[in-house]
């Protein structure tokens, strides 16, 4: 027995009536019959596996919701995200990720009026708040309750029914990316034409898709490395001084190496508006990055309306106490940092961004500003790195 294509058509019609922006993605799914599957599943190639017996029992509304749910796994690229979380078959994490992914999709489904058959997983059935990402739920699910399996498209692990090749739709990873961006475009257009008609989770997804963000630690590490390297020429070749061995190698002129020691200052906004936990996290992580990049000693400047500087060894950072509170004027801190000797070449500032900034660079150095939370970025003379506050959820692309 194979899937009743007429009923599948009815379900597509029903879904597109509610959610016209899914059209590009929905018509690209290649339906396949898998008797005995018990439910619906997808794989990475946009094959949609349906149990004909189960499908025959769904109402058209159920069916439409199932299609939206399965398409949701593919649009949100749960398979790749499961890989990034190191999901495995044997330790039950595939099952857990599947449930986490279901929770991410289903809280949007409930307000569409289309209901999934049976008792679907939602954040509230798991006792968790709505509107989070699969990764967030994944780390908060202690054990895997036994529920349905949405296939390799939801958790990345191969399933016996997988065809493991692109179906009629011919969807390879790049095409899948094209489809995702096409649906995201349609979602954004629909939302601007009919505000309030698109579920919140889907809007967040559509807006996050366009911009790719990297982990701020990686970004900061790269910035520090690059700036420490270019300001101080960590290990680079120079012809400006002949090599000490050039008399041996004559007539070959080899270059010499230069390695001035980089100096770094960390300016920390200790004003009352910075939350204790965020400040501690940001300082620990930032100084760890600096220490990893080879800065043995650094200037530490704690700053509210006044500033205090101290010279610390990277290995002793845990013992440093930060004092402060009240308002902020980071300019004071920046000037104090730049007035130290040895003069810093790189100044890393940790702040919530709510501070007056000087319009011109306060001195000759490279400036990196870590803004904790949703604060405004620093002026153009500094490079801004956004650090998500522990209270605010990370957007889906922050994980990549």
């Amino acid at each position: 027995m194979s899937v009743d294509l007429r009923r599948l058509g009815l379900a597509r019609l029903r879904l597109l009536d509610r959610r016209p922006y899914y059209a590009t993605g929905l018509y690209r799914l290649s339906p396949r019959s898998v008797p005995g599957l018990g439910t619906a599943a997808v794989d990475r190639h946009w094959n949609l596996y349906l149990d004909p017996d189960a499908a025959a029992e769904w109402t058209i509304d159920h069916y439409a919701a199932v299609l939206e749910h399965e398409l949701g796994h593919l649009l949100r690229d749960h398979a790749t995200r499961a890989d990034l979380q190191g999901v495995h078959e044997h330790d039950g994490s595939a099952k857990r990720f599947n449930i986490a992914a279901d929770a991410e999709i289903n809280d949007d489904l409930t307000d569409s009026g289309l209901a999934l058959p049976g008792a679907p997983v939602t954040p509230s059935t798991l006792g968790l708040p709505d509107g989070q990402l699969a990764e967030w739920y994944f780390h908060r699910l202690p054990v895997a309750p036994d529920t349905c399996d949405c296939g390799s498209g939801a958790h990345g692990q191969a399933r016996p029914w997988d065809l493991d090749r692109p179906g009629d739709g011919g969807v390879d990873p790049v095409t899948a990316e094209v489809l995702r961006s096409a649906v995201a475009d349609a979602v954004r257009q629909h939302q601007s034409r009919y505000p309030g008609s698109v579920p919140a989770g889907l809007i967040r997804w559509a807006h996050a898709l366009g911009r790719s963000a990297v982990d701020w630690r990686t970004l900061l590490r790269r910035l520090v490395r690059r700036h420490a390297a270019t300001t101080s020429g960590q290990v680079d070749y120079t012809m400006s001084r002949p090599s000490r061995r050039s008399h041996v190698t004559h007539p070959v002129v080899p270059p010499s190496l230069r390695r001035p020691t980089p100096q770094v200052a960390v300016v920390i906004d200790t004003s009352g508006s910075m939350s204790e936990g965020d400040l501690a996290t940001a300082v620990t992580e930032t100084t760890a990055v600096l220490a990893q990049s080879g800065m043995a000693e650094m200037w530490l400047v704690s700053c509210d309306t006044q500033a205090r500087a101290q010279r610390v060894r990277a290995s002793r950072l845990r013992q440093v106490s930060l004092t402060g509170g009240g308002g902020t004027d980071l300019e004071v801190g920046l000037r104090l940092a730049l007035g130290q000797w040895p003069r810093p070449d790189l100044v890393v500032t940790i702040t919530d961004g709510f501070t007056p900034w000087p319009t011109d660079p306060p001195g000759h150095a490279v400036f990196v500003v870590c803004v904790v939370g949703d604060g405004p970025p620093a002026p153009g003379w500094a490079t801004t790195v956004h650090i998500p506050s522990s209270g605010s959820p990370e957007t889906s692309r922050d994980i990549f």
């Binding site: 294509l5 007429r6 058509g9 009815l10 379900a11 597509r12 019609l13 029903r14 597109l16 009536d17 059209a23 590009t24 018509y27 690209r28 058209i60 509304d61 493991d164 090749r165 692109p166 009629d168 739709g169 011919g170 390879d172 990873p173 790049v174 095409t175 990316e177 094209v178 961006s181 096409a182 790719s212 990297v214 990686t218 970004l219 590490r221 790269r222 910035l223 490395r225 690059r226 390297a229 270019t230 290990v235 680079d236 070749y237 004559h250 007539p251 070959v252 002129v253 080899p254 270059p255």
Partner: protein, 364 residues
């Protein structure tokens, strides 16, 4: 069966055959080096491995030698001379991202012009480089944007199944094919890419602005040309679509490739006006999403200019789609068409067949 890893391997062989410099990005220990050496030996190419990270700029720009007459010549290192002696081969630059910036700058000429100091490498020299992403490499440097733009970037992925099979039976690599001699023949990509850039001129050059992208593929006239050559060659060699996609993405980056493929998808579609002119005979695409796109284009052009005649023609197309493809795709259009009925036009006889379907779907 084509997995992503297979497609990457095939993309690598196309690039070597085309003599386009390739840069493979991947975690340490994933077999980049051994695959390249194996590829070279299977293809009977002489392979020179140069670790960029332990070299200095003069190893690539030539050692400056003061001659008795006071001029300076740039002596090529022995690996370059060996490549000339073997009249070509494969130059493998390992650990590229751990090379200091001055070495990277010196590599620009080697990669682009195949010139080392005063010595020109044979035109048949293939250049392959491997790099670890800076966050995974000890002491990694970001690749400079100009050097990055000269390479085809391939993401080196390994999947468990291939590794398991490889450990048991030995890793297999495809044979680098001979580049077809009739490579001047026009192909789809040599006409599509110029047409795309005419439609989206702003995409011909998008210099990277953030750190994350500067060391990766980005669109420039040079990389578009590279994309075109590789796409053309892969097509002539009968490669899979996913291989072509990887080649495009590795040349001009993901964002530009997604735009290009989106545009190509709609470029394939028939003009709605042509379909309306011959509603019963004009060929329609076979894939559901394309049929849907054509019908939506017809609705849009009716909104723009409507008449009883055009409206009836649109119903005829919907009729055909309902019979030949999927009734539900036609039914979505039927709702739109019903709303667009021009004043004075007789009701369409085709409309009635969609009513039970729409009612059953709970849409009416």
């Amino acid at each position: 069966m084509t997995t992503t890893a297979d497609a990457t391997l095939q993309a690598l062989t196309v690039a070597i055959a085309a003599r386009v410099p390739v840069l493979m990005w991947g975690a340490p220990g994933t077999g980049k080096t051994s695959v390249v050496r194996e590829l070279a030996s299977r293809a009977g190419m002489h392979c020179e491995t140069v670790l960029a990270s332990i070299r200095e700029p003069s190893d690539f720009s030539g050692l400056p030698v003061v001659r008795p007459d006071g001029t300076v010549s740039f002596a090529p290192p022995s690996w370059a001379q060996r490549l000339v002696e073997h009249s070509g081969g494969l130059l493998f630059l390992d650990e590229l991202s751990t090379a200091p910036p001055a070495v990277q700058a010196a590599l620009l000429r080697v990669v682009l012009d195949r010139t080392v100091g005063d010595l020109e490498l044979p035109a048949s020299t293939a250049i392959v480089a491997a790099a670890n992403p800076p966050e995974q490499a000890a002491g990694g440097w970001d690749l400079s944007a100009p050097l990055a733009n000269r390479f085809l970037h391939l993401e080196w992925t390994t999947d468990g199944r291939t590794v398991a099979h490889g450990l048991a039976h030995g890793f297999s690599v495809p044979v680098v094919p001979e580049p077809p001699t009739h490579a001047t023949t026009t192909s789809t990509w040599s006409s599509l890419i110029p047409a795309f850039l005419t439609a989206r001129p702003h995409l011909h050059l998008v210099a990277p602005t953030d750190i994350e992208q500067s060391g990766r593929a980005w669109p420039s006239p040079r990389s578009w040309h590279m994309a075109m050559r590789l796409g053309q060659l892969a097509e002539l060699m009968g490669m899979d679509r996913s291989v072509v996609h990887q080649l495009l993405m590795g040349s001009v980056g993901t964002a530009a490739t997604v735009e290009l493929l989106t545009w190509v998808d709609s470029f394939d579609l028939p003009d709605p006006e042509d379909v309306l002119a011959k509603p019963t005979t004009h060929p329609l695409p076979g894939r559901a999403d394309q049929v849907h796109a054509v019908l939506m284009a017809i609705v849009a052009s009716l909104r723009h200019r409507n008449s009883a005649e055009r409206w009836h023609a649109a119903w005829q197309v919907a009729d055909r789609v309902a019979n030949d493809h999927a009734p539900d795709i036609a039914a979505t259009t039927a709702i739109e068409l019903a709303r667009l009925q021009p004043r004075g036009a007789a009701p369409s006889p085709s409309a009635r067949q969609f009513v039970p379907l729409l009612r059953e779907a709970g849409v009416l």
